[in-house]
């Protein structure tokens, strides 16, 4: 079943929604999102948006702060563009109804986050992301030209080669909701032994929908779930980065993964949560600021060994120290102790943590809190030029999935939403121009083989595949954390590369053994192949950087090298690898 649109938007975070609203004035738009429309990384961003909104502030200052935080790996032109255009994008949001906090004088109340030299963060109490998504979603829902397809999982981009150019004409998706509607036919038959036997067939009745669009915007967000502990919601499995890579897009800077040093470690709680937490509960630096002390499980205070500022060292130093301790001692978490402070003070300043920990039997006024670093943001992604263009014609990117050059080797706080807004806006004009110069050809839809719509895998086989996929996913996350974490080394990275290659082969073999066909799709399986793809991109990028810069720290090259101050670029190539995860679904049968 094919749907024809002028514009297809993959992802419903701030980038996707903002772009959809602008292009909707020029044509029909499909917003494709894999869960509920409001479910995105943006929704969880509660902090604020940073921009030059005060007369005493300047674009140069914002640029300087961004470049310093990015360890001088940022693209200067991109930084200039975002810092200059950011303020207008925020004012547009305000005009749309986002109620940013004001001061008594009537001006925007701007706060100052780590790394900023001026007060420039506009916020809505402490749920900025949610408010922005609310405002944008309301406008999107009311726009007659925009159709939202929620619970539609994007499988692969539809591309073809025209001489040396790759052109994108849409995306294949499937509806994950109707997948749950399975029809079970149970046939009873009696055998000689007079026992009643049964065979159950599970028909996967789901709809695969092919979107043919003149222009596609990829705004599918991050890939936090390649690591076991992450702040990202479950939807962040790097789908967009993987799809773009399979479609021969250029990927860059994947080695720069931002971690928060202290997230609540479920393994250390007295009463383990019954179901694993979807996104990590981050313990703020304020707890350390209020006197919290970090101990390893041997109750040794380790921070003074790494930095004279001890617990108040910069976050990346703390993250590295904790990671080092965990690897050296082969442990799962460290302890953050604030119980030596007065309990009324603790309860009045940190009621949220106290309540959350108490739920699992931990009293923070008496016991230390188990913490472990959590993956938070991907600074790298699909390589984008100044208007969100990629090397694939008709494909644009914006948001966390893109690598625009703004963040460099480390993202400055509150720069991600403003980057998404700016690039979503900048991609609009080129998209419209491209759209006007293309025509829909009804036969386009037949250029590619279709994903398998129904299949009759026994429910037994499906269960086995599901269980195996979940186990493999945990194994992948564990390898990534152990070998591609915060403190890296060439040996560990190479080991990870080998292990993950073997894991991928083992998983695919199992799948096909159980009867899975190459053009078959399923939510867990498709997410798994995307996770493998992203993990491999992170590892190969990390291996190629022979210096330590920003978020990428390796003990084999522990210093900054001026000559290596270049982005890491992964060019597409007709890969030697022929795994299921590394080829587009519609190309599976061609080899």
């Amino acid at each position: 079943m094919s749907q024809y649109f002028d514009f297809a938007v993959i992802g419903s975070g701030v980038a996707g929604l903002r772009y959809a609203l602008d292009v909707a004035k020029h044509g029909s738009v499909a917003v494709i999102t894999k869960a509920e429309p409001h479910e995105s990384n943006t929704n969880y961003a509660q902090g604020g948006v940073g921009s030059v909104l005060s007369p005493s502030d300047s674009v140069e200052s914002h640029m300087h702060d961004t470049i310093v935080a990015g360890a001088y790996l940022c693209d200067e032109e991109t930084v200039r563009v975002v810092c200059t255009e950011g303020p207008d994008r925020i004012r547009e949001l305000m005009a749309m109804g986002a109620s940013f906090d004001h001061g008594e004088d009537g001006n925007l109340h701007l706060t100052r986050e780590g790394g900023h030299s001026h007060h420039r963060i506009a916020h809505v109490a402490d749920m900025t992301g949610r408010e922005i998504v609310r405002v944008l979603l309301k406008a999107v829902v009311n726009d007659p030209n925009i159709s939202v397809f929620d619970h539609h999982f994007a499988i692969d981009l539809l591309t073809y080669q025209d001489c040396s150019d790759t052109i994108c004409l849409g995306v294949d998706t499937f509806n994950t909701e109707t997948l749950e509607v399975t029809t079970k036919f149970t046939i009873y038959y009696a055998q000689k032994s007079h026992y009643l036997h049964s065979i159950t067939f599970t028909f996967l009745n789901f709809q695969a929908i092919r979107f043919i669009s003149k222009v596609t915007l990829l705004a599918s967000g991050g890939a936090g779930h390649i690591y076991p502990t992450t702040t990202n919601p479950l939807i962040a499995t790097g789908d967009g980065m993987a799809m773009a890579y399979r479609a021969q897009a250029v990927i860059s800077n994947m080695e720069f993964v931002q971690f928060h040093p202290t997230a609540l470690a479920d393994e250390g709680l007295p009463i383990k949560p019954t179901k694993s937490r979807e996104n990590a509960f981050l313990i703020s630096e304020a707890v350390r600021g209020a006197g919290g002390i970090l101990y390893n499980l041997g109750m040794e205070r380790f921070m003074p060994l790494y930095d004279e500022r001890a617990e108040l060292a910069p976050r990346d130093v703390v993250a590295r120290s904790i990671d080092d301790q965990l690897k050296k001692r082969n442990e799962k978490y460290v302890l953050l102790d604030i119980s030596h402070r007065a309990s009324e003070k603790i309860l009045s300043h940190f009621p949220n943590i106290a309540a959350e920990c108490l739920k699992y039997g931990l009293d923070i006024t008496r016991q230390p809190i188990p913490v472990v670093p959590a993956a938070h943001y991907m600074c790298g992604g699909v390589h984008a030029r100044l208007h969100g263009e990629t090397n694939i014609q008709g494909l644009y990117v914006a948001g966390e999935v893109a690598c625009t050059g703004l963040h460099g080797a480390n993202r400055l706080a509150s720069n991600s939403i403003v980057e998404a807004l700016v690039f979503a806006r900048r991609a609009v004009q080129p998209s419209i121009d491209h759209m006007k110069s293309s025509k829909h050809d009804p036969s386009t839809s037949n250029l590619w083989g279709k994903p398998v719509v129904t299949s009759s895998l026994g429910s037994d086989a499906m269960d086995k595949i599901l269980t195996m996929t979940r186990t493999i996913r945990k194994e992948l996350q564990s390898i990534m954390w152990d070998y591609v974490g915060i403190v890296r080394s060439t040996t560990r990275l190479e080991f990870a590369e080998q292990k993950i290659g073997e894991l991928e082969a083992k998983w695919e073999e199992y799948l096909f053994q159980q009867g899975w066909e190459p053009t078959m799709v399923g939510l867990e399986a498709c997410e798994m192949r995307n996770l493998f793809c992203c993990a491999e991109l992170v590892i190969s990028s990390a291996l190629s950087r022979h210096e330590s810069r920003g978020l990428h720290y390796t003990v084999d090259f522990p210093n900054l090298e001026e000559s290596k101050r270049l982005p890491t670029i992964i060019f597409p190539c007709s890969s030697v690898k022929s795994t299921w995860s590394s080829r587009q679904l519609h190309k599976q049968l061609m080899c």
Partner: protein
Amino acid sequence: MASNLCRLFSSSALKLTFSHTRSDQLTRSLSNSVNRLICSATQQPHPLEENPKQSHKQRLRKRISKTKARKKIKKTTNDYDDNGNFVNKATGEVGGPRGPEPTRFGDWEKNGRCCDF
């Protein structure tokens, strides 16, 4: 006052044991009954707390006046503007989060939980 009563009774109970040569059991049971008296005396409802003799309405009024008194104290230390929005005296922010500045340590903090950094 009740604690003074306690001390009075216990000291006199002690005197009882020293000055008289009655059997231990008797003195013990006497001091026990005295203790029980003291205990029940201390369990008398505090004059400011709920007195079952008071009517329900009277108790309700007392509760309301107490909360109003509390709110008045709150209102004078942290202002509210004309629209009833909370105004942070230190930062001038209207309608923002109460308590310490969320970004005071660089990350965005609410009640100890960090949202971004």
